[in-house]
């Protein structure tokens, strides 16, 4: 069974169906049902995945697409792609459920420009694109999905967003296109230089040997991914886009779309251009560390909830990039795990912030206060989501952050120590936001708040449960990720980390 | 002799082109365009003779047909514009700018 093609086809067909349904409520239900079908399929696929298999990409499908240029419709997943696809498949039904009223225009400062069902159709199209981008094993196909993802997101921000949505949407699109076009040049150059007459990723590994060429191509790919991720200083589109996007779209934007950047660094930058990656590692590590500290400091100074969360993500993406380029097993696995966990964590934060904003009609932190008193469940889930944002042990984000920092420390001590200061800053921005919104005397404007209703609990519940379960028992995910990271690092040819004690012992023998 | 014909053709073409550039009356501009087409036809006919190939003449014939169709539509457009704007000046139809 062509699992991955099915996973992409189902949401696309669903999107067509949703756009044909005339009744808005029915459209929502259809969209939810389709996304749940995709989730179920993903779960079945994940159970059939064999982490110990020698075959690197499983469920692989390869068909000729443009034979003249060796372009294939090539899809397949390894552990890294699998967990990210699972993340996407999981977040979409949650987002659909959370966005139930986002496109209705009730309580929004700016009425939506398009119909309700268009929004849900766009969500499903986006899901197909997200699955495709992670599943692609053909570099060209990856590029196609990489750019195609922008379109539904552009419309979701530009048509359903806040007051400044067109500015944010255009900024998002221009930034991404800028990076994407650089990547296109690099993709074509890769094809030409490699002289293999194929875009298939597995065949391109090790195809470029010349260090000078590697460096240029690396930059082409890397800048695209750095914009996407976003890495400091390419980040300023994210706060605008995330703040203007409807909460659900923001979740997918920050939770999944941006992961394509870090995923691309891990998969393409490292494996296709190992020498260049090593050459640029100091630069990337500096950018990542600056991003961690800078994002956190700027987040502290924000007055808008969604912008604040966006800046925390910039800080977190710094961690992921650090983990990817530390090029140790622990850091790599941690970074991959971080991508997934960050999706849960930021997803929960954005969605709960969205519930708050839906109730109050404002995303300014100063407009809240004392929500805990009137809506304890809302406040409690917000706290858990926030604590996952500051990587509290016991929540899954801790495992990933710890592994990233530990893995980075194995090779880059100073960078890891500076990055670890993000731990303190994270506590400041999260708790200060929590205090300003949830604690203190109940503000007049907040008095009429209702607590989370059943639908909203179904949104928050799974995320919180996942955060806690994987916080104590991350093994299932790590078992899938570890072999894939090992394979990635083996094509980079780095000496694996050995503790000083073992090293001495080894030398002694 | 071919050279002479061709130079004449070029000259007529250029005069037509300059006419298009400096006249504002849409009808006159149209006439200048016709002049340019005719100049081209002359060149086609000349080349047909030069190479002993009737295709050139045939192309000239097609040019005429197309020119006729063009004139019909073009003049209809001019009449319509004139009716609404009371002007046949090409400069007056300048909304499509910036």
């Amino acid at each position: 069974m062509p699992w991955l093609s099915t996973l992409m086809a189902v949401p696309v067909l669903g999107a067509v169906g949703v756009s044909l349904v005339k009744n808005d409520k029915l459209a929502k239900q259809v969209a939810l049902a389709v996304s749940l079908v995709v989730l179920a399929l993903t779960v079945v696929m994940a159970t059939r995945f064999d982490p110990s298999s020698a075959e690197r990409f499983q469920f692989a499908e390869v068909h000729q697409w443009i034979p003249r240029f060796g372009v294939h419709y090539g899809v397949g997943v390894d552990g890294i792609a699998l967990v990210l696809i699972a993340l996407s498949a999981l977040l979409v039904p949650i987002v659909i459920l959370a966005s139930w009223h986002d496109a209705d225009g009730t309580g929004a400062a700016a009425p939506p420009k398009r119909s309700v069902r268009t929004y849900f159709a766009l969500l499903l199209v986006l899901e197909a694109m997200m699955i495709g981008v992670f599943a692609a094993t053909d570099v060209f196909l990856f590029y196609v999905f990489f750019e195609a993802m922008l379109i539904p997101m552009y419309f979701m921000i530009g048509s359903y967003g806040g007051v400044q949505r067109s500015y944010a949407a255009v900024k998002f699109l221009l930034y991404s296109l800028f990076g994407g076009l650089l990547m296109l040049v690099a993709v074509i150059a890769l094809y030409v230089v490699a002289e293999k007459n194929t875009f298939m990723f597995p065949e391109l590994i090790g195809a470029i040997q010349d260090p000078g060429t590697q460096k240029w191509l690396f930059l082409g790919f890397f800048i695209a991914f750095a914009v996407k991720a976003p890495l400091w200083p390419f980040h300023t589109w994210l706060p605008d886009a995330a703040a203007q996007a409807p909460a659900g779209a923001a979740v997918l934007l920050v939770g999944v779309l941006d992961k394509v950047g870090t995923y691309g660094m891990l998969r393409f930058c490292l494996e296709l251009f190992p020498e260049a990656s090593k050459f640029f590692t100091p630069l990337v590590i500096v950018l990542a560390v600056v991003g961690i500290v800078y994002g956190a400091i700027v987040a502290i100074g924000q007055t808008d909830m969604k912008r604040l969360i966006a800046y925390t993500s910039i800080s977190h993406f710094g961690f992921i990039a650090l983990g990817v380029f530390a090029m140790t097993k622990d850091a790599g696995a941690g970074a991959t795990l971080y991508m997934v966990n960050h999706g849960f964590s930021t997803g929960a934060l954005f969605l709960i912030a969205g519930f708050l904003i839906y109730r109050r009609g404002s995303s300014r932190i100063a407009d809240y206060g004392g929500v805990q008193k009137v809506s304890p469940v809302l406040a409690g889930s917000f706290l858990i989501a926030g604590l996952s944002g500051l990587s509290l042990p016991g929540l899954s984000t801790f495992v990933s952050e710890f592994m990233v920092l530990m893995g980075s420390y194995e090779r880059y001590k100073v960078a890891a120590i500076i990055a670890a200061s993000g731990v303190v800053l994270a506590a400041i921005y999260i708790l200060w936001m929590y205090q300003r919104t949830m604690n203190g005397p109940t503000a007049e404007s907040v008095k009429g708040f209702t607590d989370l209703n059943a639908r909203e609990r179904w949104v928050v519940g799974p995320l919180v449960a996942l955060l806690i379960v994987f916080g104590f028992f991350p093994k299932p995910m790590l078992d899938v990720i570890n072999p894939a990271v090992d394979k990635t690092l083996s094509s980079v040819h780095v000496t694996p980390f050995t503790p000083a004690v073992a090293e001495k012992k080894g030398a002694g023998q | 002799m071919t050279t002479h014909y061709l130079v004449l053709s070029a000259l007529l073409f250029a005069i037509g082109a300059v006419g298009v550039l400096i006249r504002r009356n849409a009808i006159v501009v149209f006439m200048c365009v016709e002049l340019m087409l005719n100049a081209c036809n002359l060149a086609f006919v000349t080349f047909a003779r030069q190479h002993g190939n009737l295709d050139g003449q045939l192309i000239a014939f097609f040019v005429m047909v197309v020119a006729a169709a063009e004139v019909v539509v073009g003049l209809a457009i001019i009449v319509m514009i004139f009716r609404t704007r009371r002007s046949a000046s090409v400069d007056d139809a300048n909304l499509l700018k910036y």
Binding site: G301, V399, F402, K413, V501 | Y98
Partner: protein, 642 residues
Amino acid sequence: MQSPVEIFQHSGGVIGVSWLMIALPLLGAAVLLLGGRRTDRWGHLLGVVMSLAAFVVAVAAFVELLGLPAGERRRAISLYEFIPGVADTGLLIDPLSISFALLITGVGSLIHIYSIGYMSHDPDRRRFFSYLNLFVAAMLLLVLSDNYLGLFVGWEGVGLASYLLIGFWQFKPTAATAAKKAFIVNRVGDLGLLIALFTIWSVFGSFAYKNLGAGAVQDALAGGSLSQGTVTAIGLLLLLGACGKSAQLPLQSWLLDAMEGPTPVSALIHAATMVTAGVYLVVRSGAFFEAAPTAQLVVTIVGVATLLAGAIIGCAKDDIKKGLAGSTMSQIGYMMLGAGLGPVGYAFAIAHLITHGFFKANMFLGAGSVMHAMNDEVNMRRYGGLFTVMKITAVTFFIGYLAIIGFPLLSGYYTKEGIIETAMEHNEILGWLAVLGAGLTGFYMSRMVFMTFFGKRRWADDAHPHESPSVMTVPLVLLSIGSIGLGAYLILGNRFMKFLAPAVGLPAELPEPHIFGVGTVGLATLALVAIGAAFAWFRYGAAEVPEVAPRGSFLTVFARRDLYGDALNEALFMRPGQWLTRIAVFFDNRGIDGLVNGLAAGIGGTSGRVRRIQTGYVRSYALSILFGAAVVVGALLYVGTM
């Protein structure tokens, strides 16, 4: 000196299911949090039951441990793989951890019971008990884990519980701020702990205690894979972590603010258990500290500095809870001092920790009882003469008082005296400073007792003090029994030393402690304590206590302001931090985003100018077309001539 004994893998028995100690309170917390209002009616009972159940498991495990030969009393059980290749989740039941477990579950259960009464009027009592249970679970994970990663998880877990409980009355801005402050200051310490863990990992490639024993550290040092500098760094970083959690200088400032929480919280978390986690960490990491004398010295200096600072702060506070908080700081300073003195010091530090857990919890709960009676008044200048109206509270408080000042034969006397004498052996200056601290303790604790229970009644008009219900007084009585006899029981005959020996590695031969020592140091200590108490009587017992605090000398103000710790933090970190934040935000909006938007505006402006070329005049366009045609012809000619 002998090394601690090896760690044995264990299965079966009560120790095999000792994870229940953690799981039961955790289950309680989960049920209470998820159950919501439905569990309001019986929530507090569930909390108590879970805590008591954990205590029962702990006692059973303790008994089973005692049944083993002394050389095999370090039992590890592994539960599951936590992070594959990095660390497993496992528990280590050894004398050190089981002592803590008993303290946590025992004192914890008493405080749970006490809270039933104390929180009876609070609509959110159920939530309070869920947090208490969460705390107990996290604290047990901290002490029972068999590796540093598990310890860290528990470490942060108690931080979370502390945050939740300090901010329990979250509608009070002061409480919310105090909670946040506690968490953030703790995080600074956690940063140190984290980096220490990374360093340990990069050297040893493991977090498990069994791979990080004294032998392993010595081998690594000898083998050259661990430099002296690195081990010192590890020690100092661990100390930083300990300072955060245990409110030692320079991370002490959160503890006084933490008194915003309900009083049982102050008793359980900020006196008896959580704040002693730092001491546990230092003792548990003895292998590293013993390899790093510099780090050990710093530990003792920090301990002494804190014990003096806490005592000085305690002298000037009118808020009864803050006074007790200062005293807690001071007593933990003693423990930290002990923890920096090697194996013998460890034993005394842990012993003092346990007795302190009893008498400090006793006094905090007593203070809570007083507040309960006085409409939540905390200002001691509004107390006075309470002895007559609440006798049980007063008597139990008085026992705790005697214990803490080191009144002979009571708990505190033996343990504190032990620390002071061990310190004296190491370093006389530190020893004498510790003695001075004892004198100060005598003064400020006496001041507290006299202001609260004796003298004239200075009550508020609407105060009608009464004795607390028995659900509150029974725990007080039980705790005061511990305050009386526990010290003697533990220290005399070196009972505790021998018990603890396998975990920390004590010298085989220990001097037999006396029931009442008459050494120079002991007498000096007693004398100083007596002078302090007398001075307090003179100032606060016999004399009139003004209801409004006099301005006081420079020293008083200094102490009242917490030694300007907050002011220092504010000037050094908060204000520059705020400026940095503002600058960064400005830079982000105007600098980076400004650059990007400027670029966009530049392109927009240029195209705005360039588009003027599109005049709309057909003839202009035609002109450019003709030029283009001419250029093409020229180009063709040029190419043709080439």
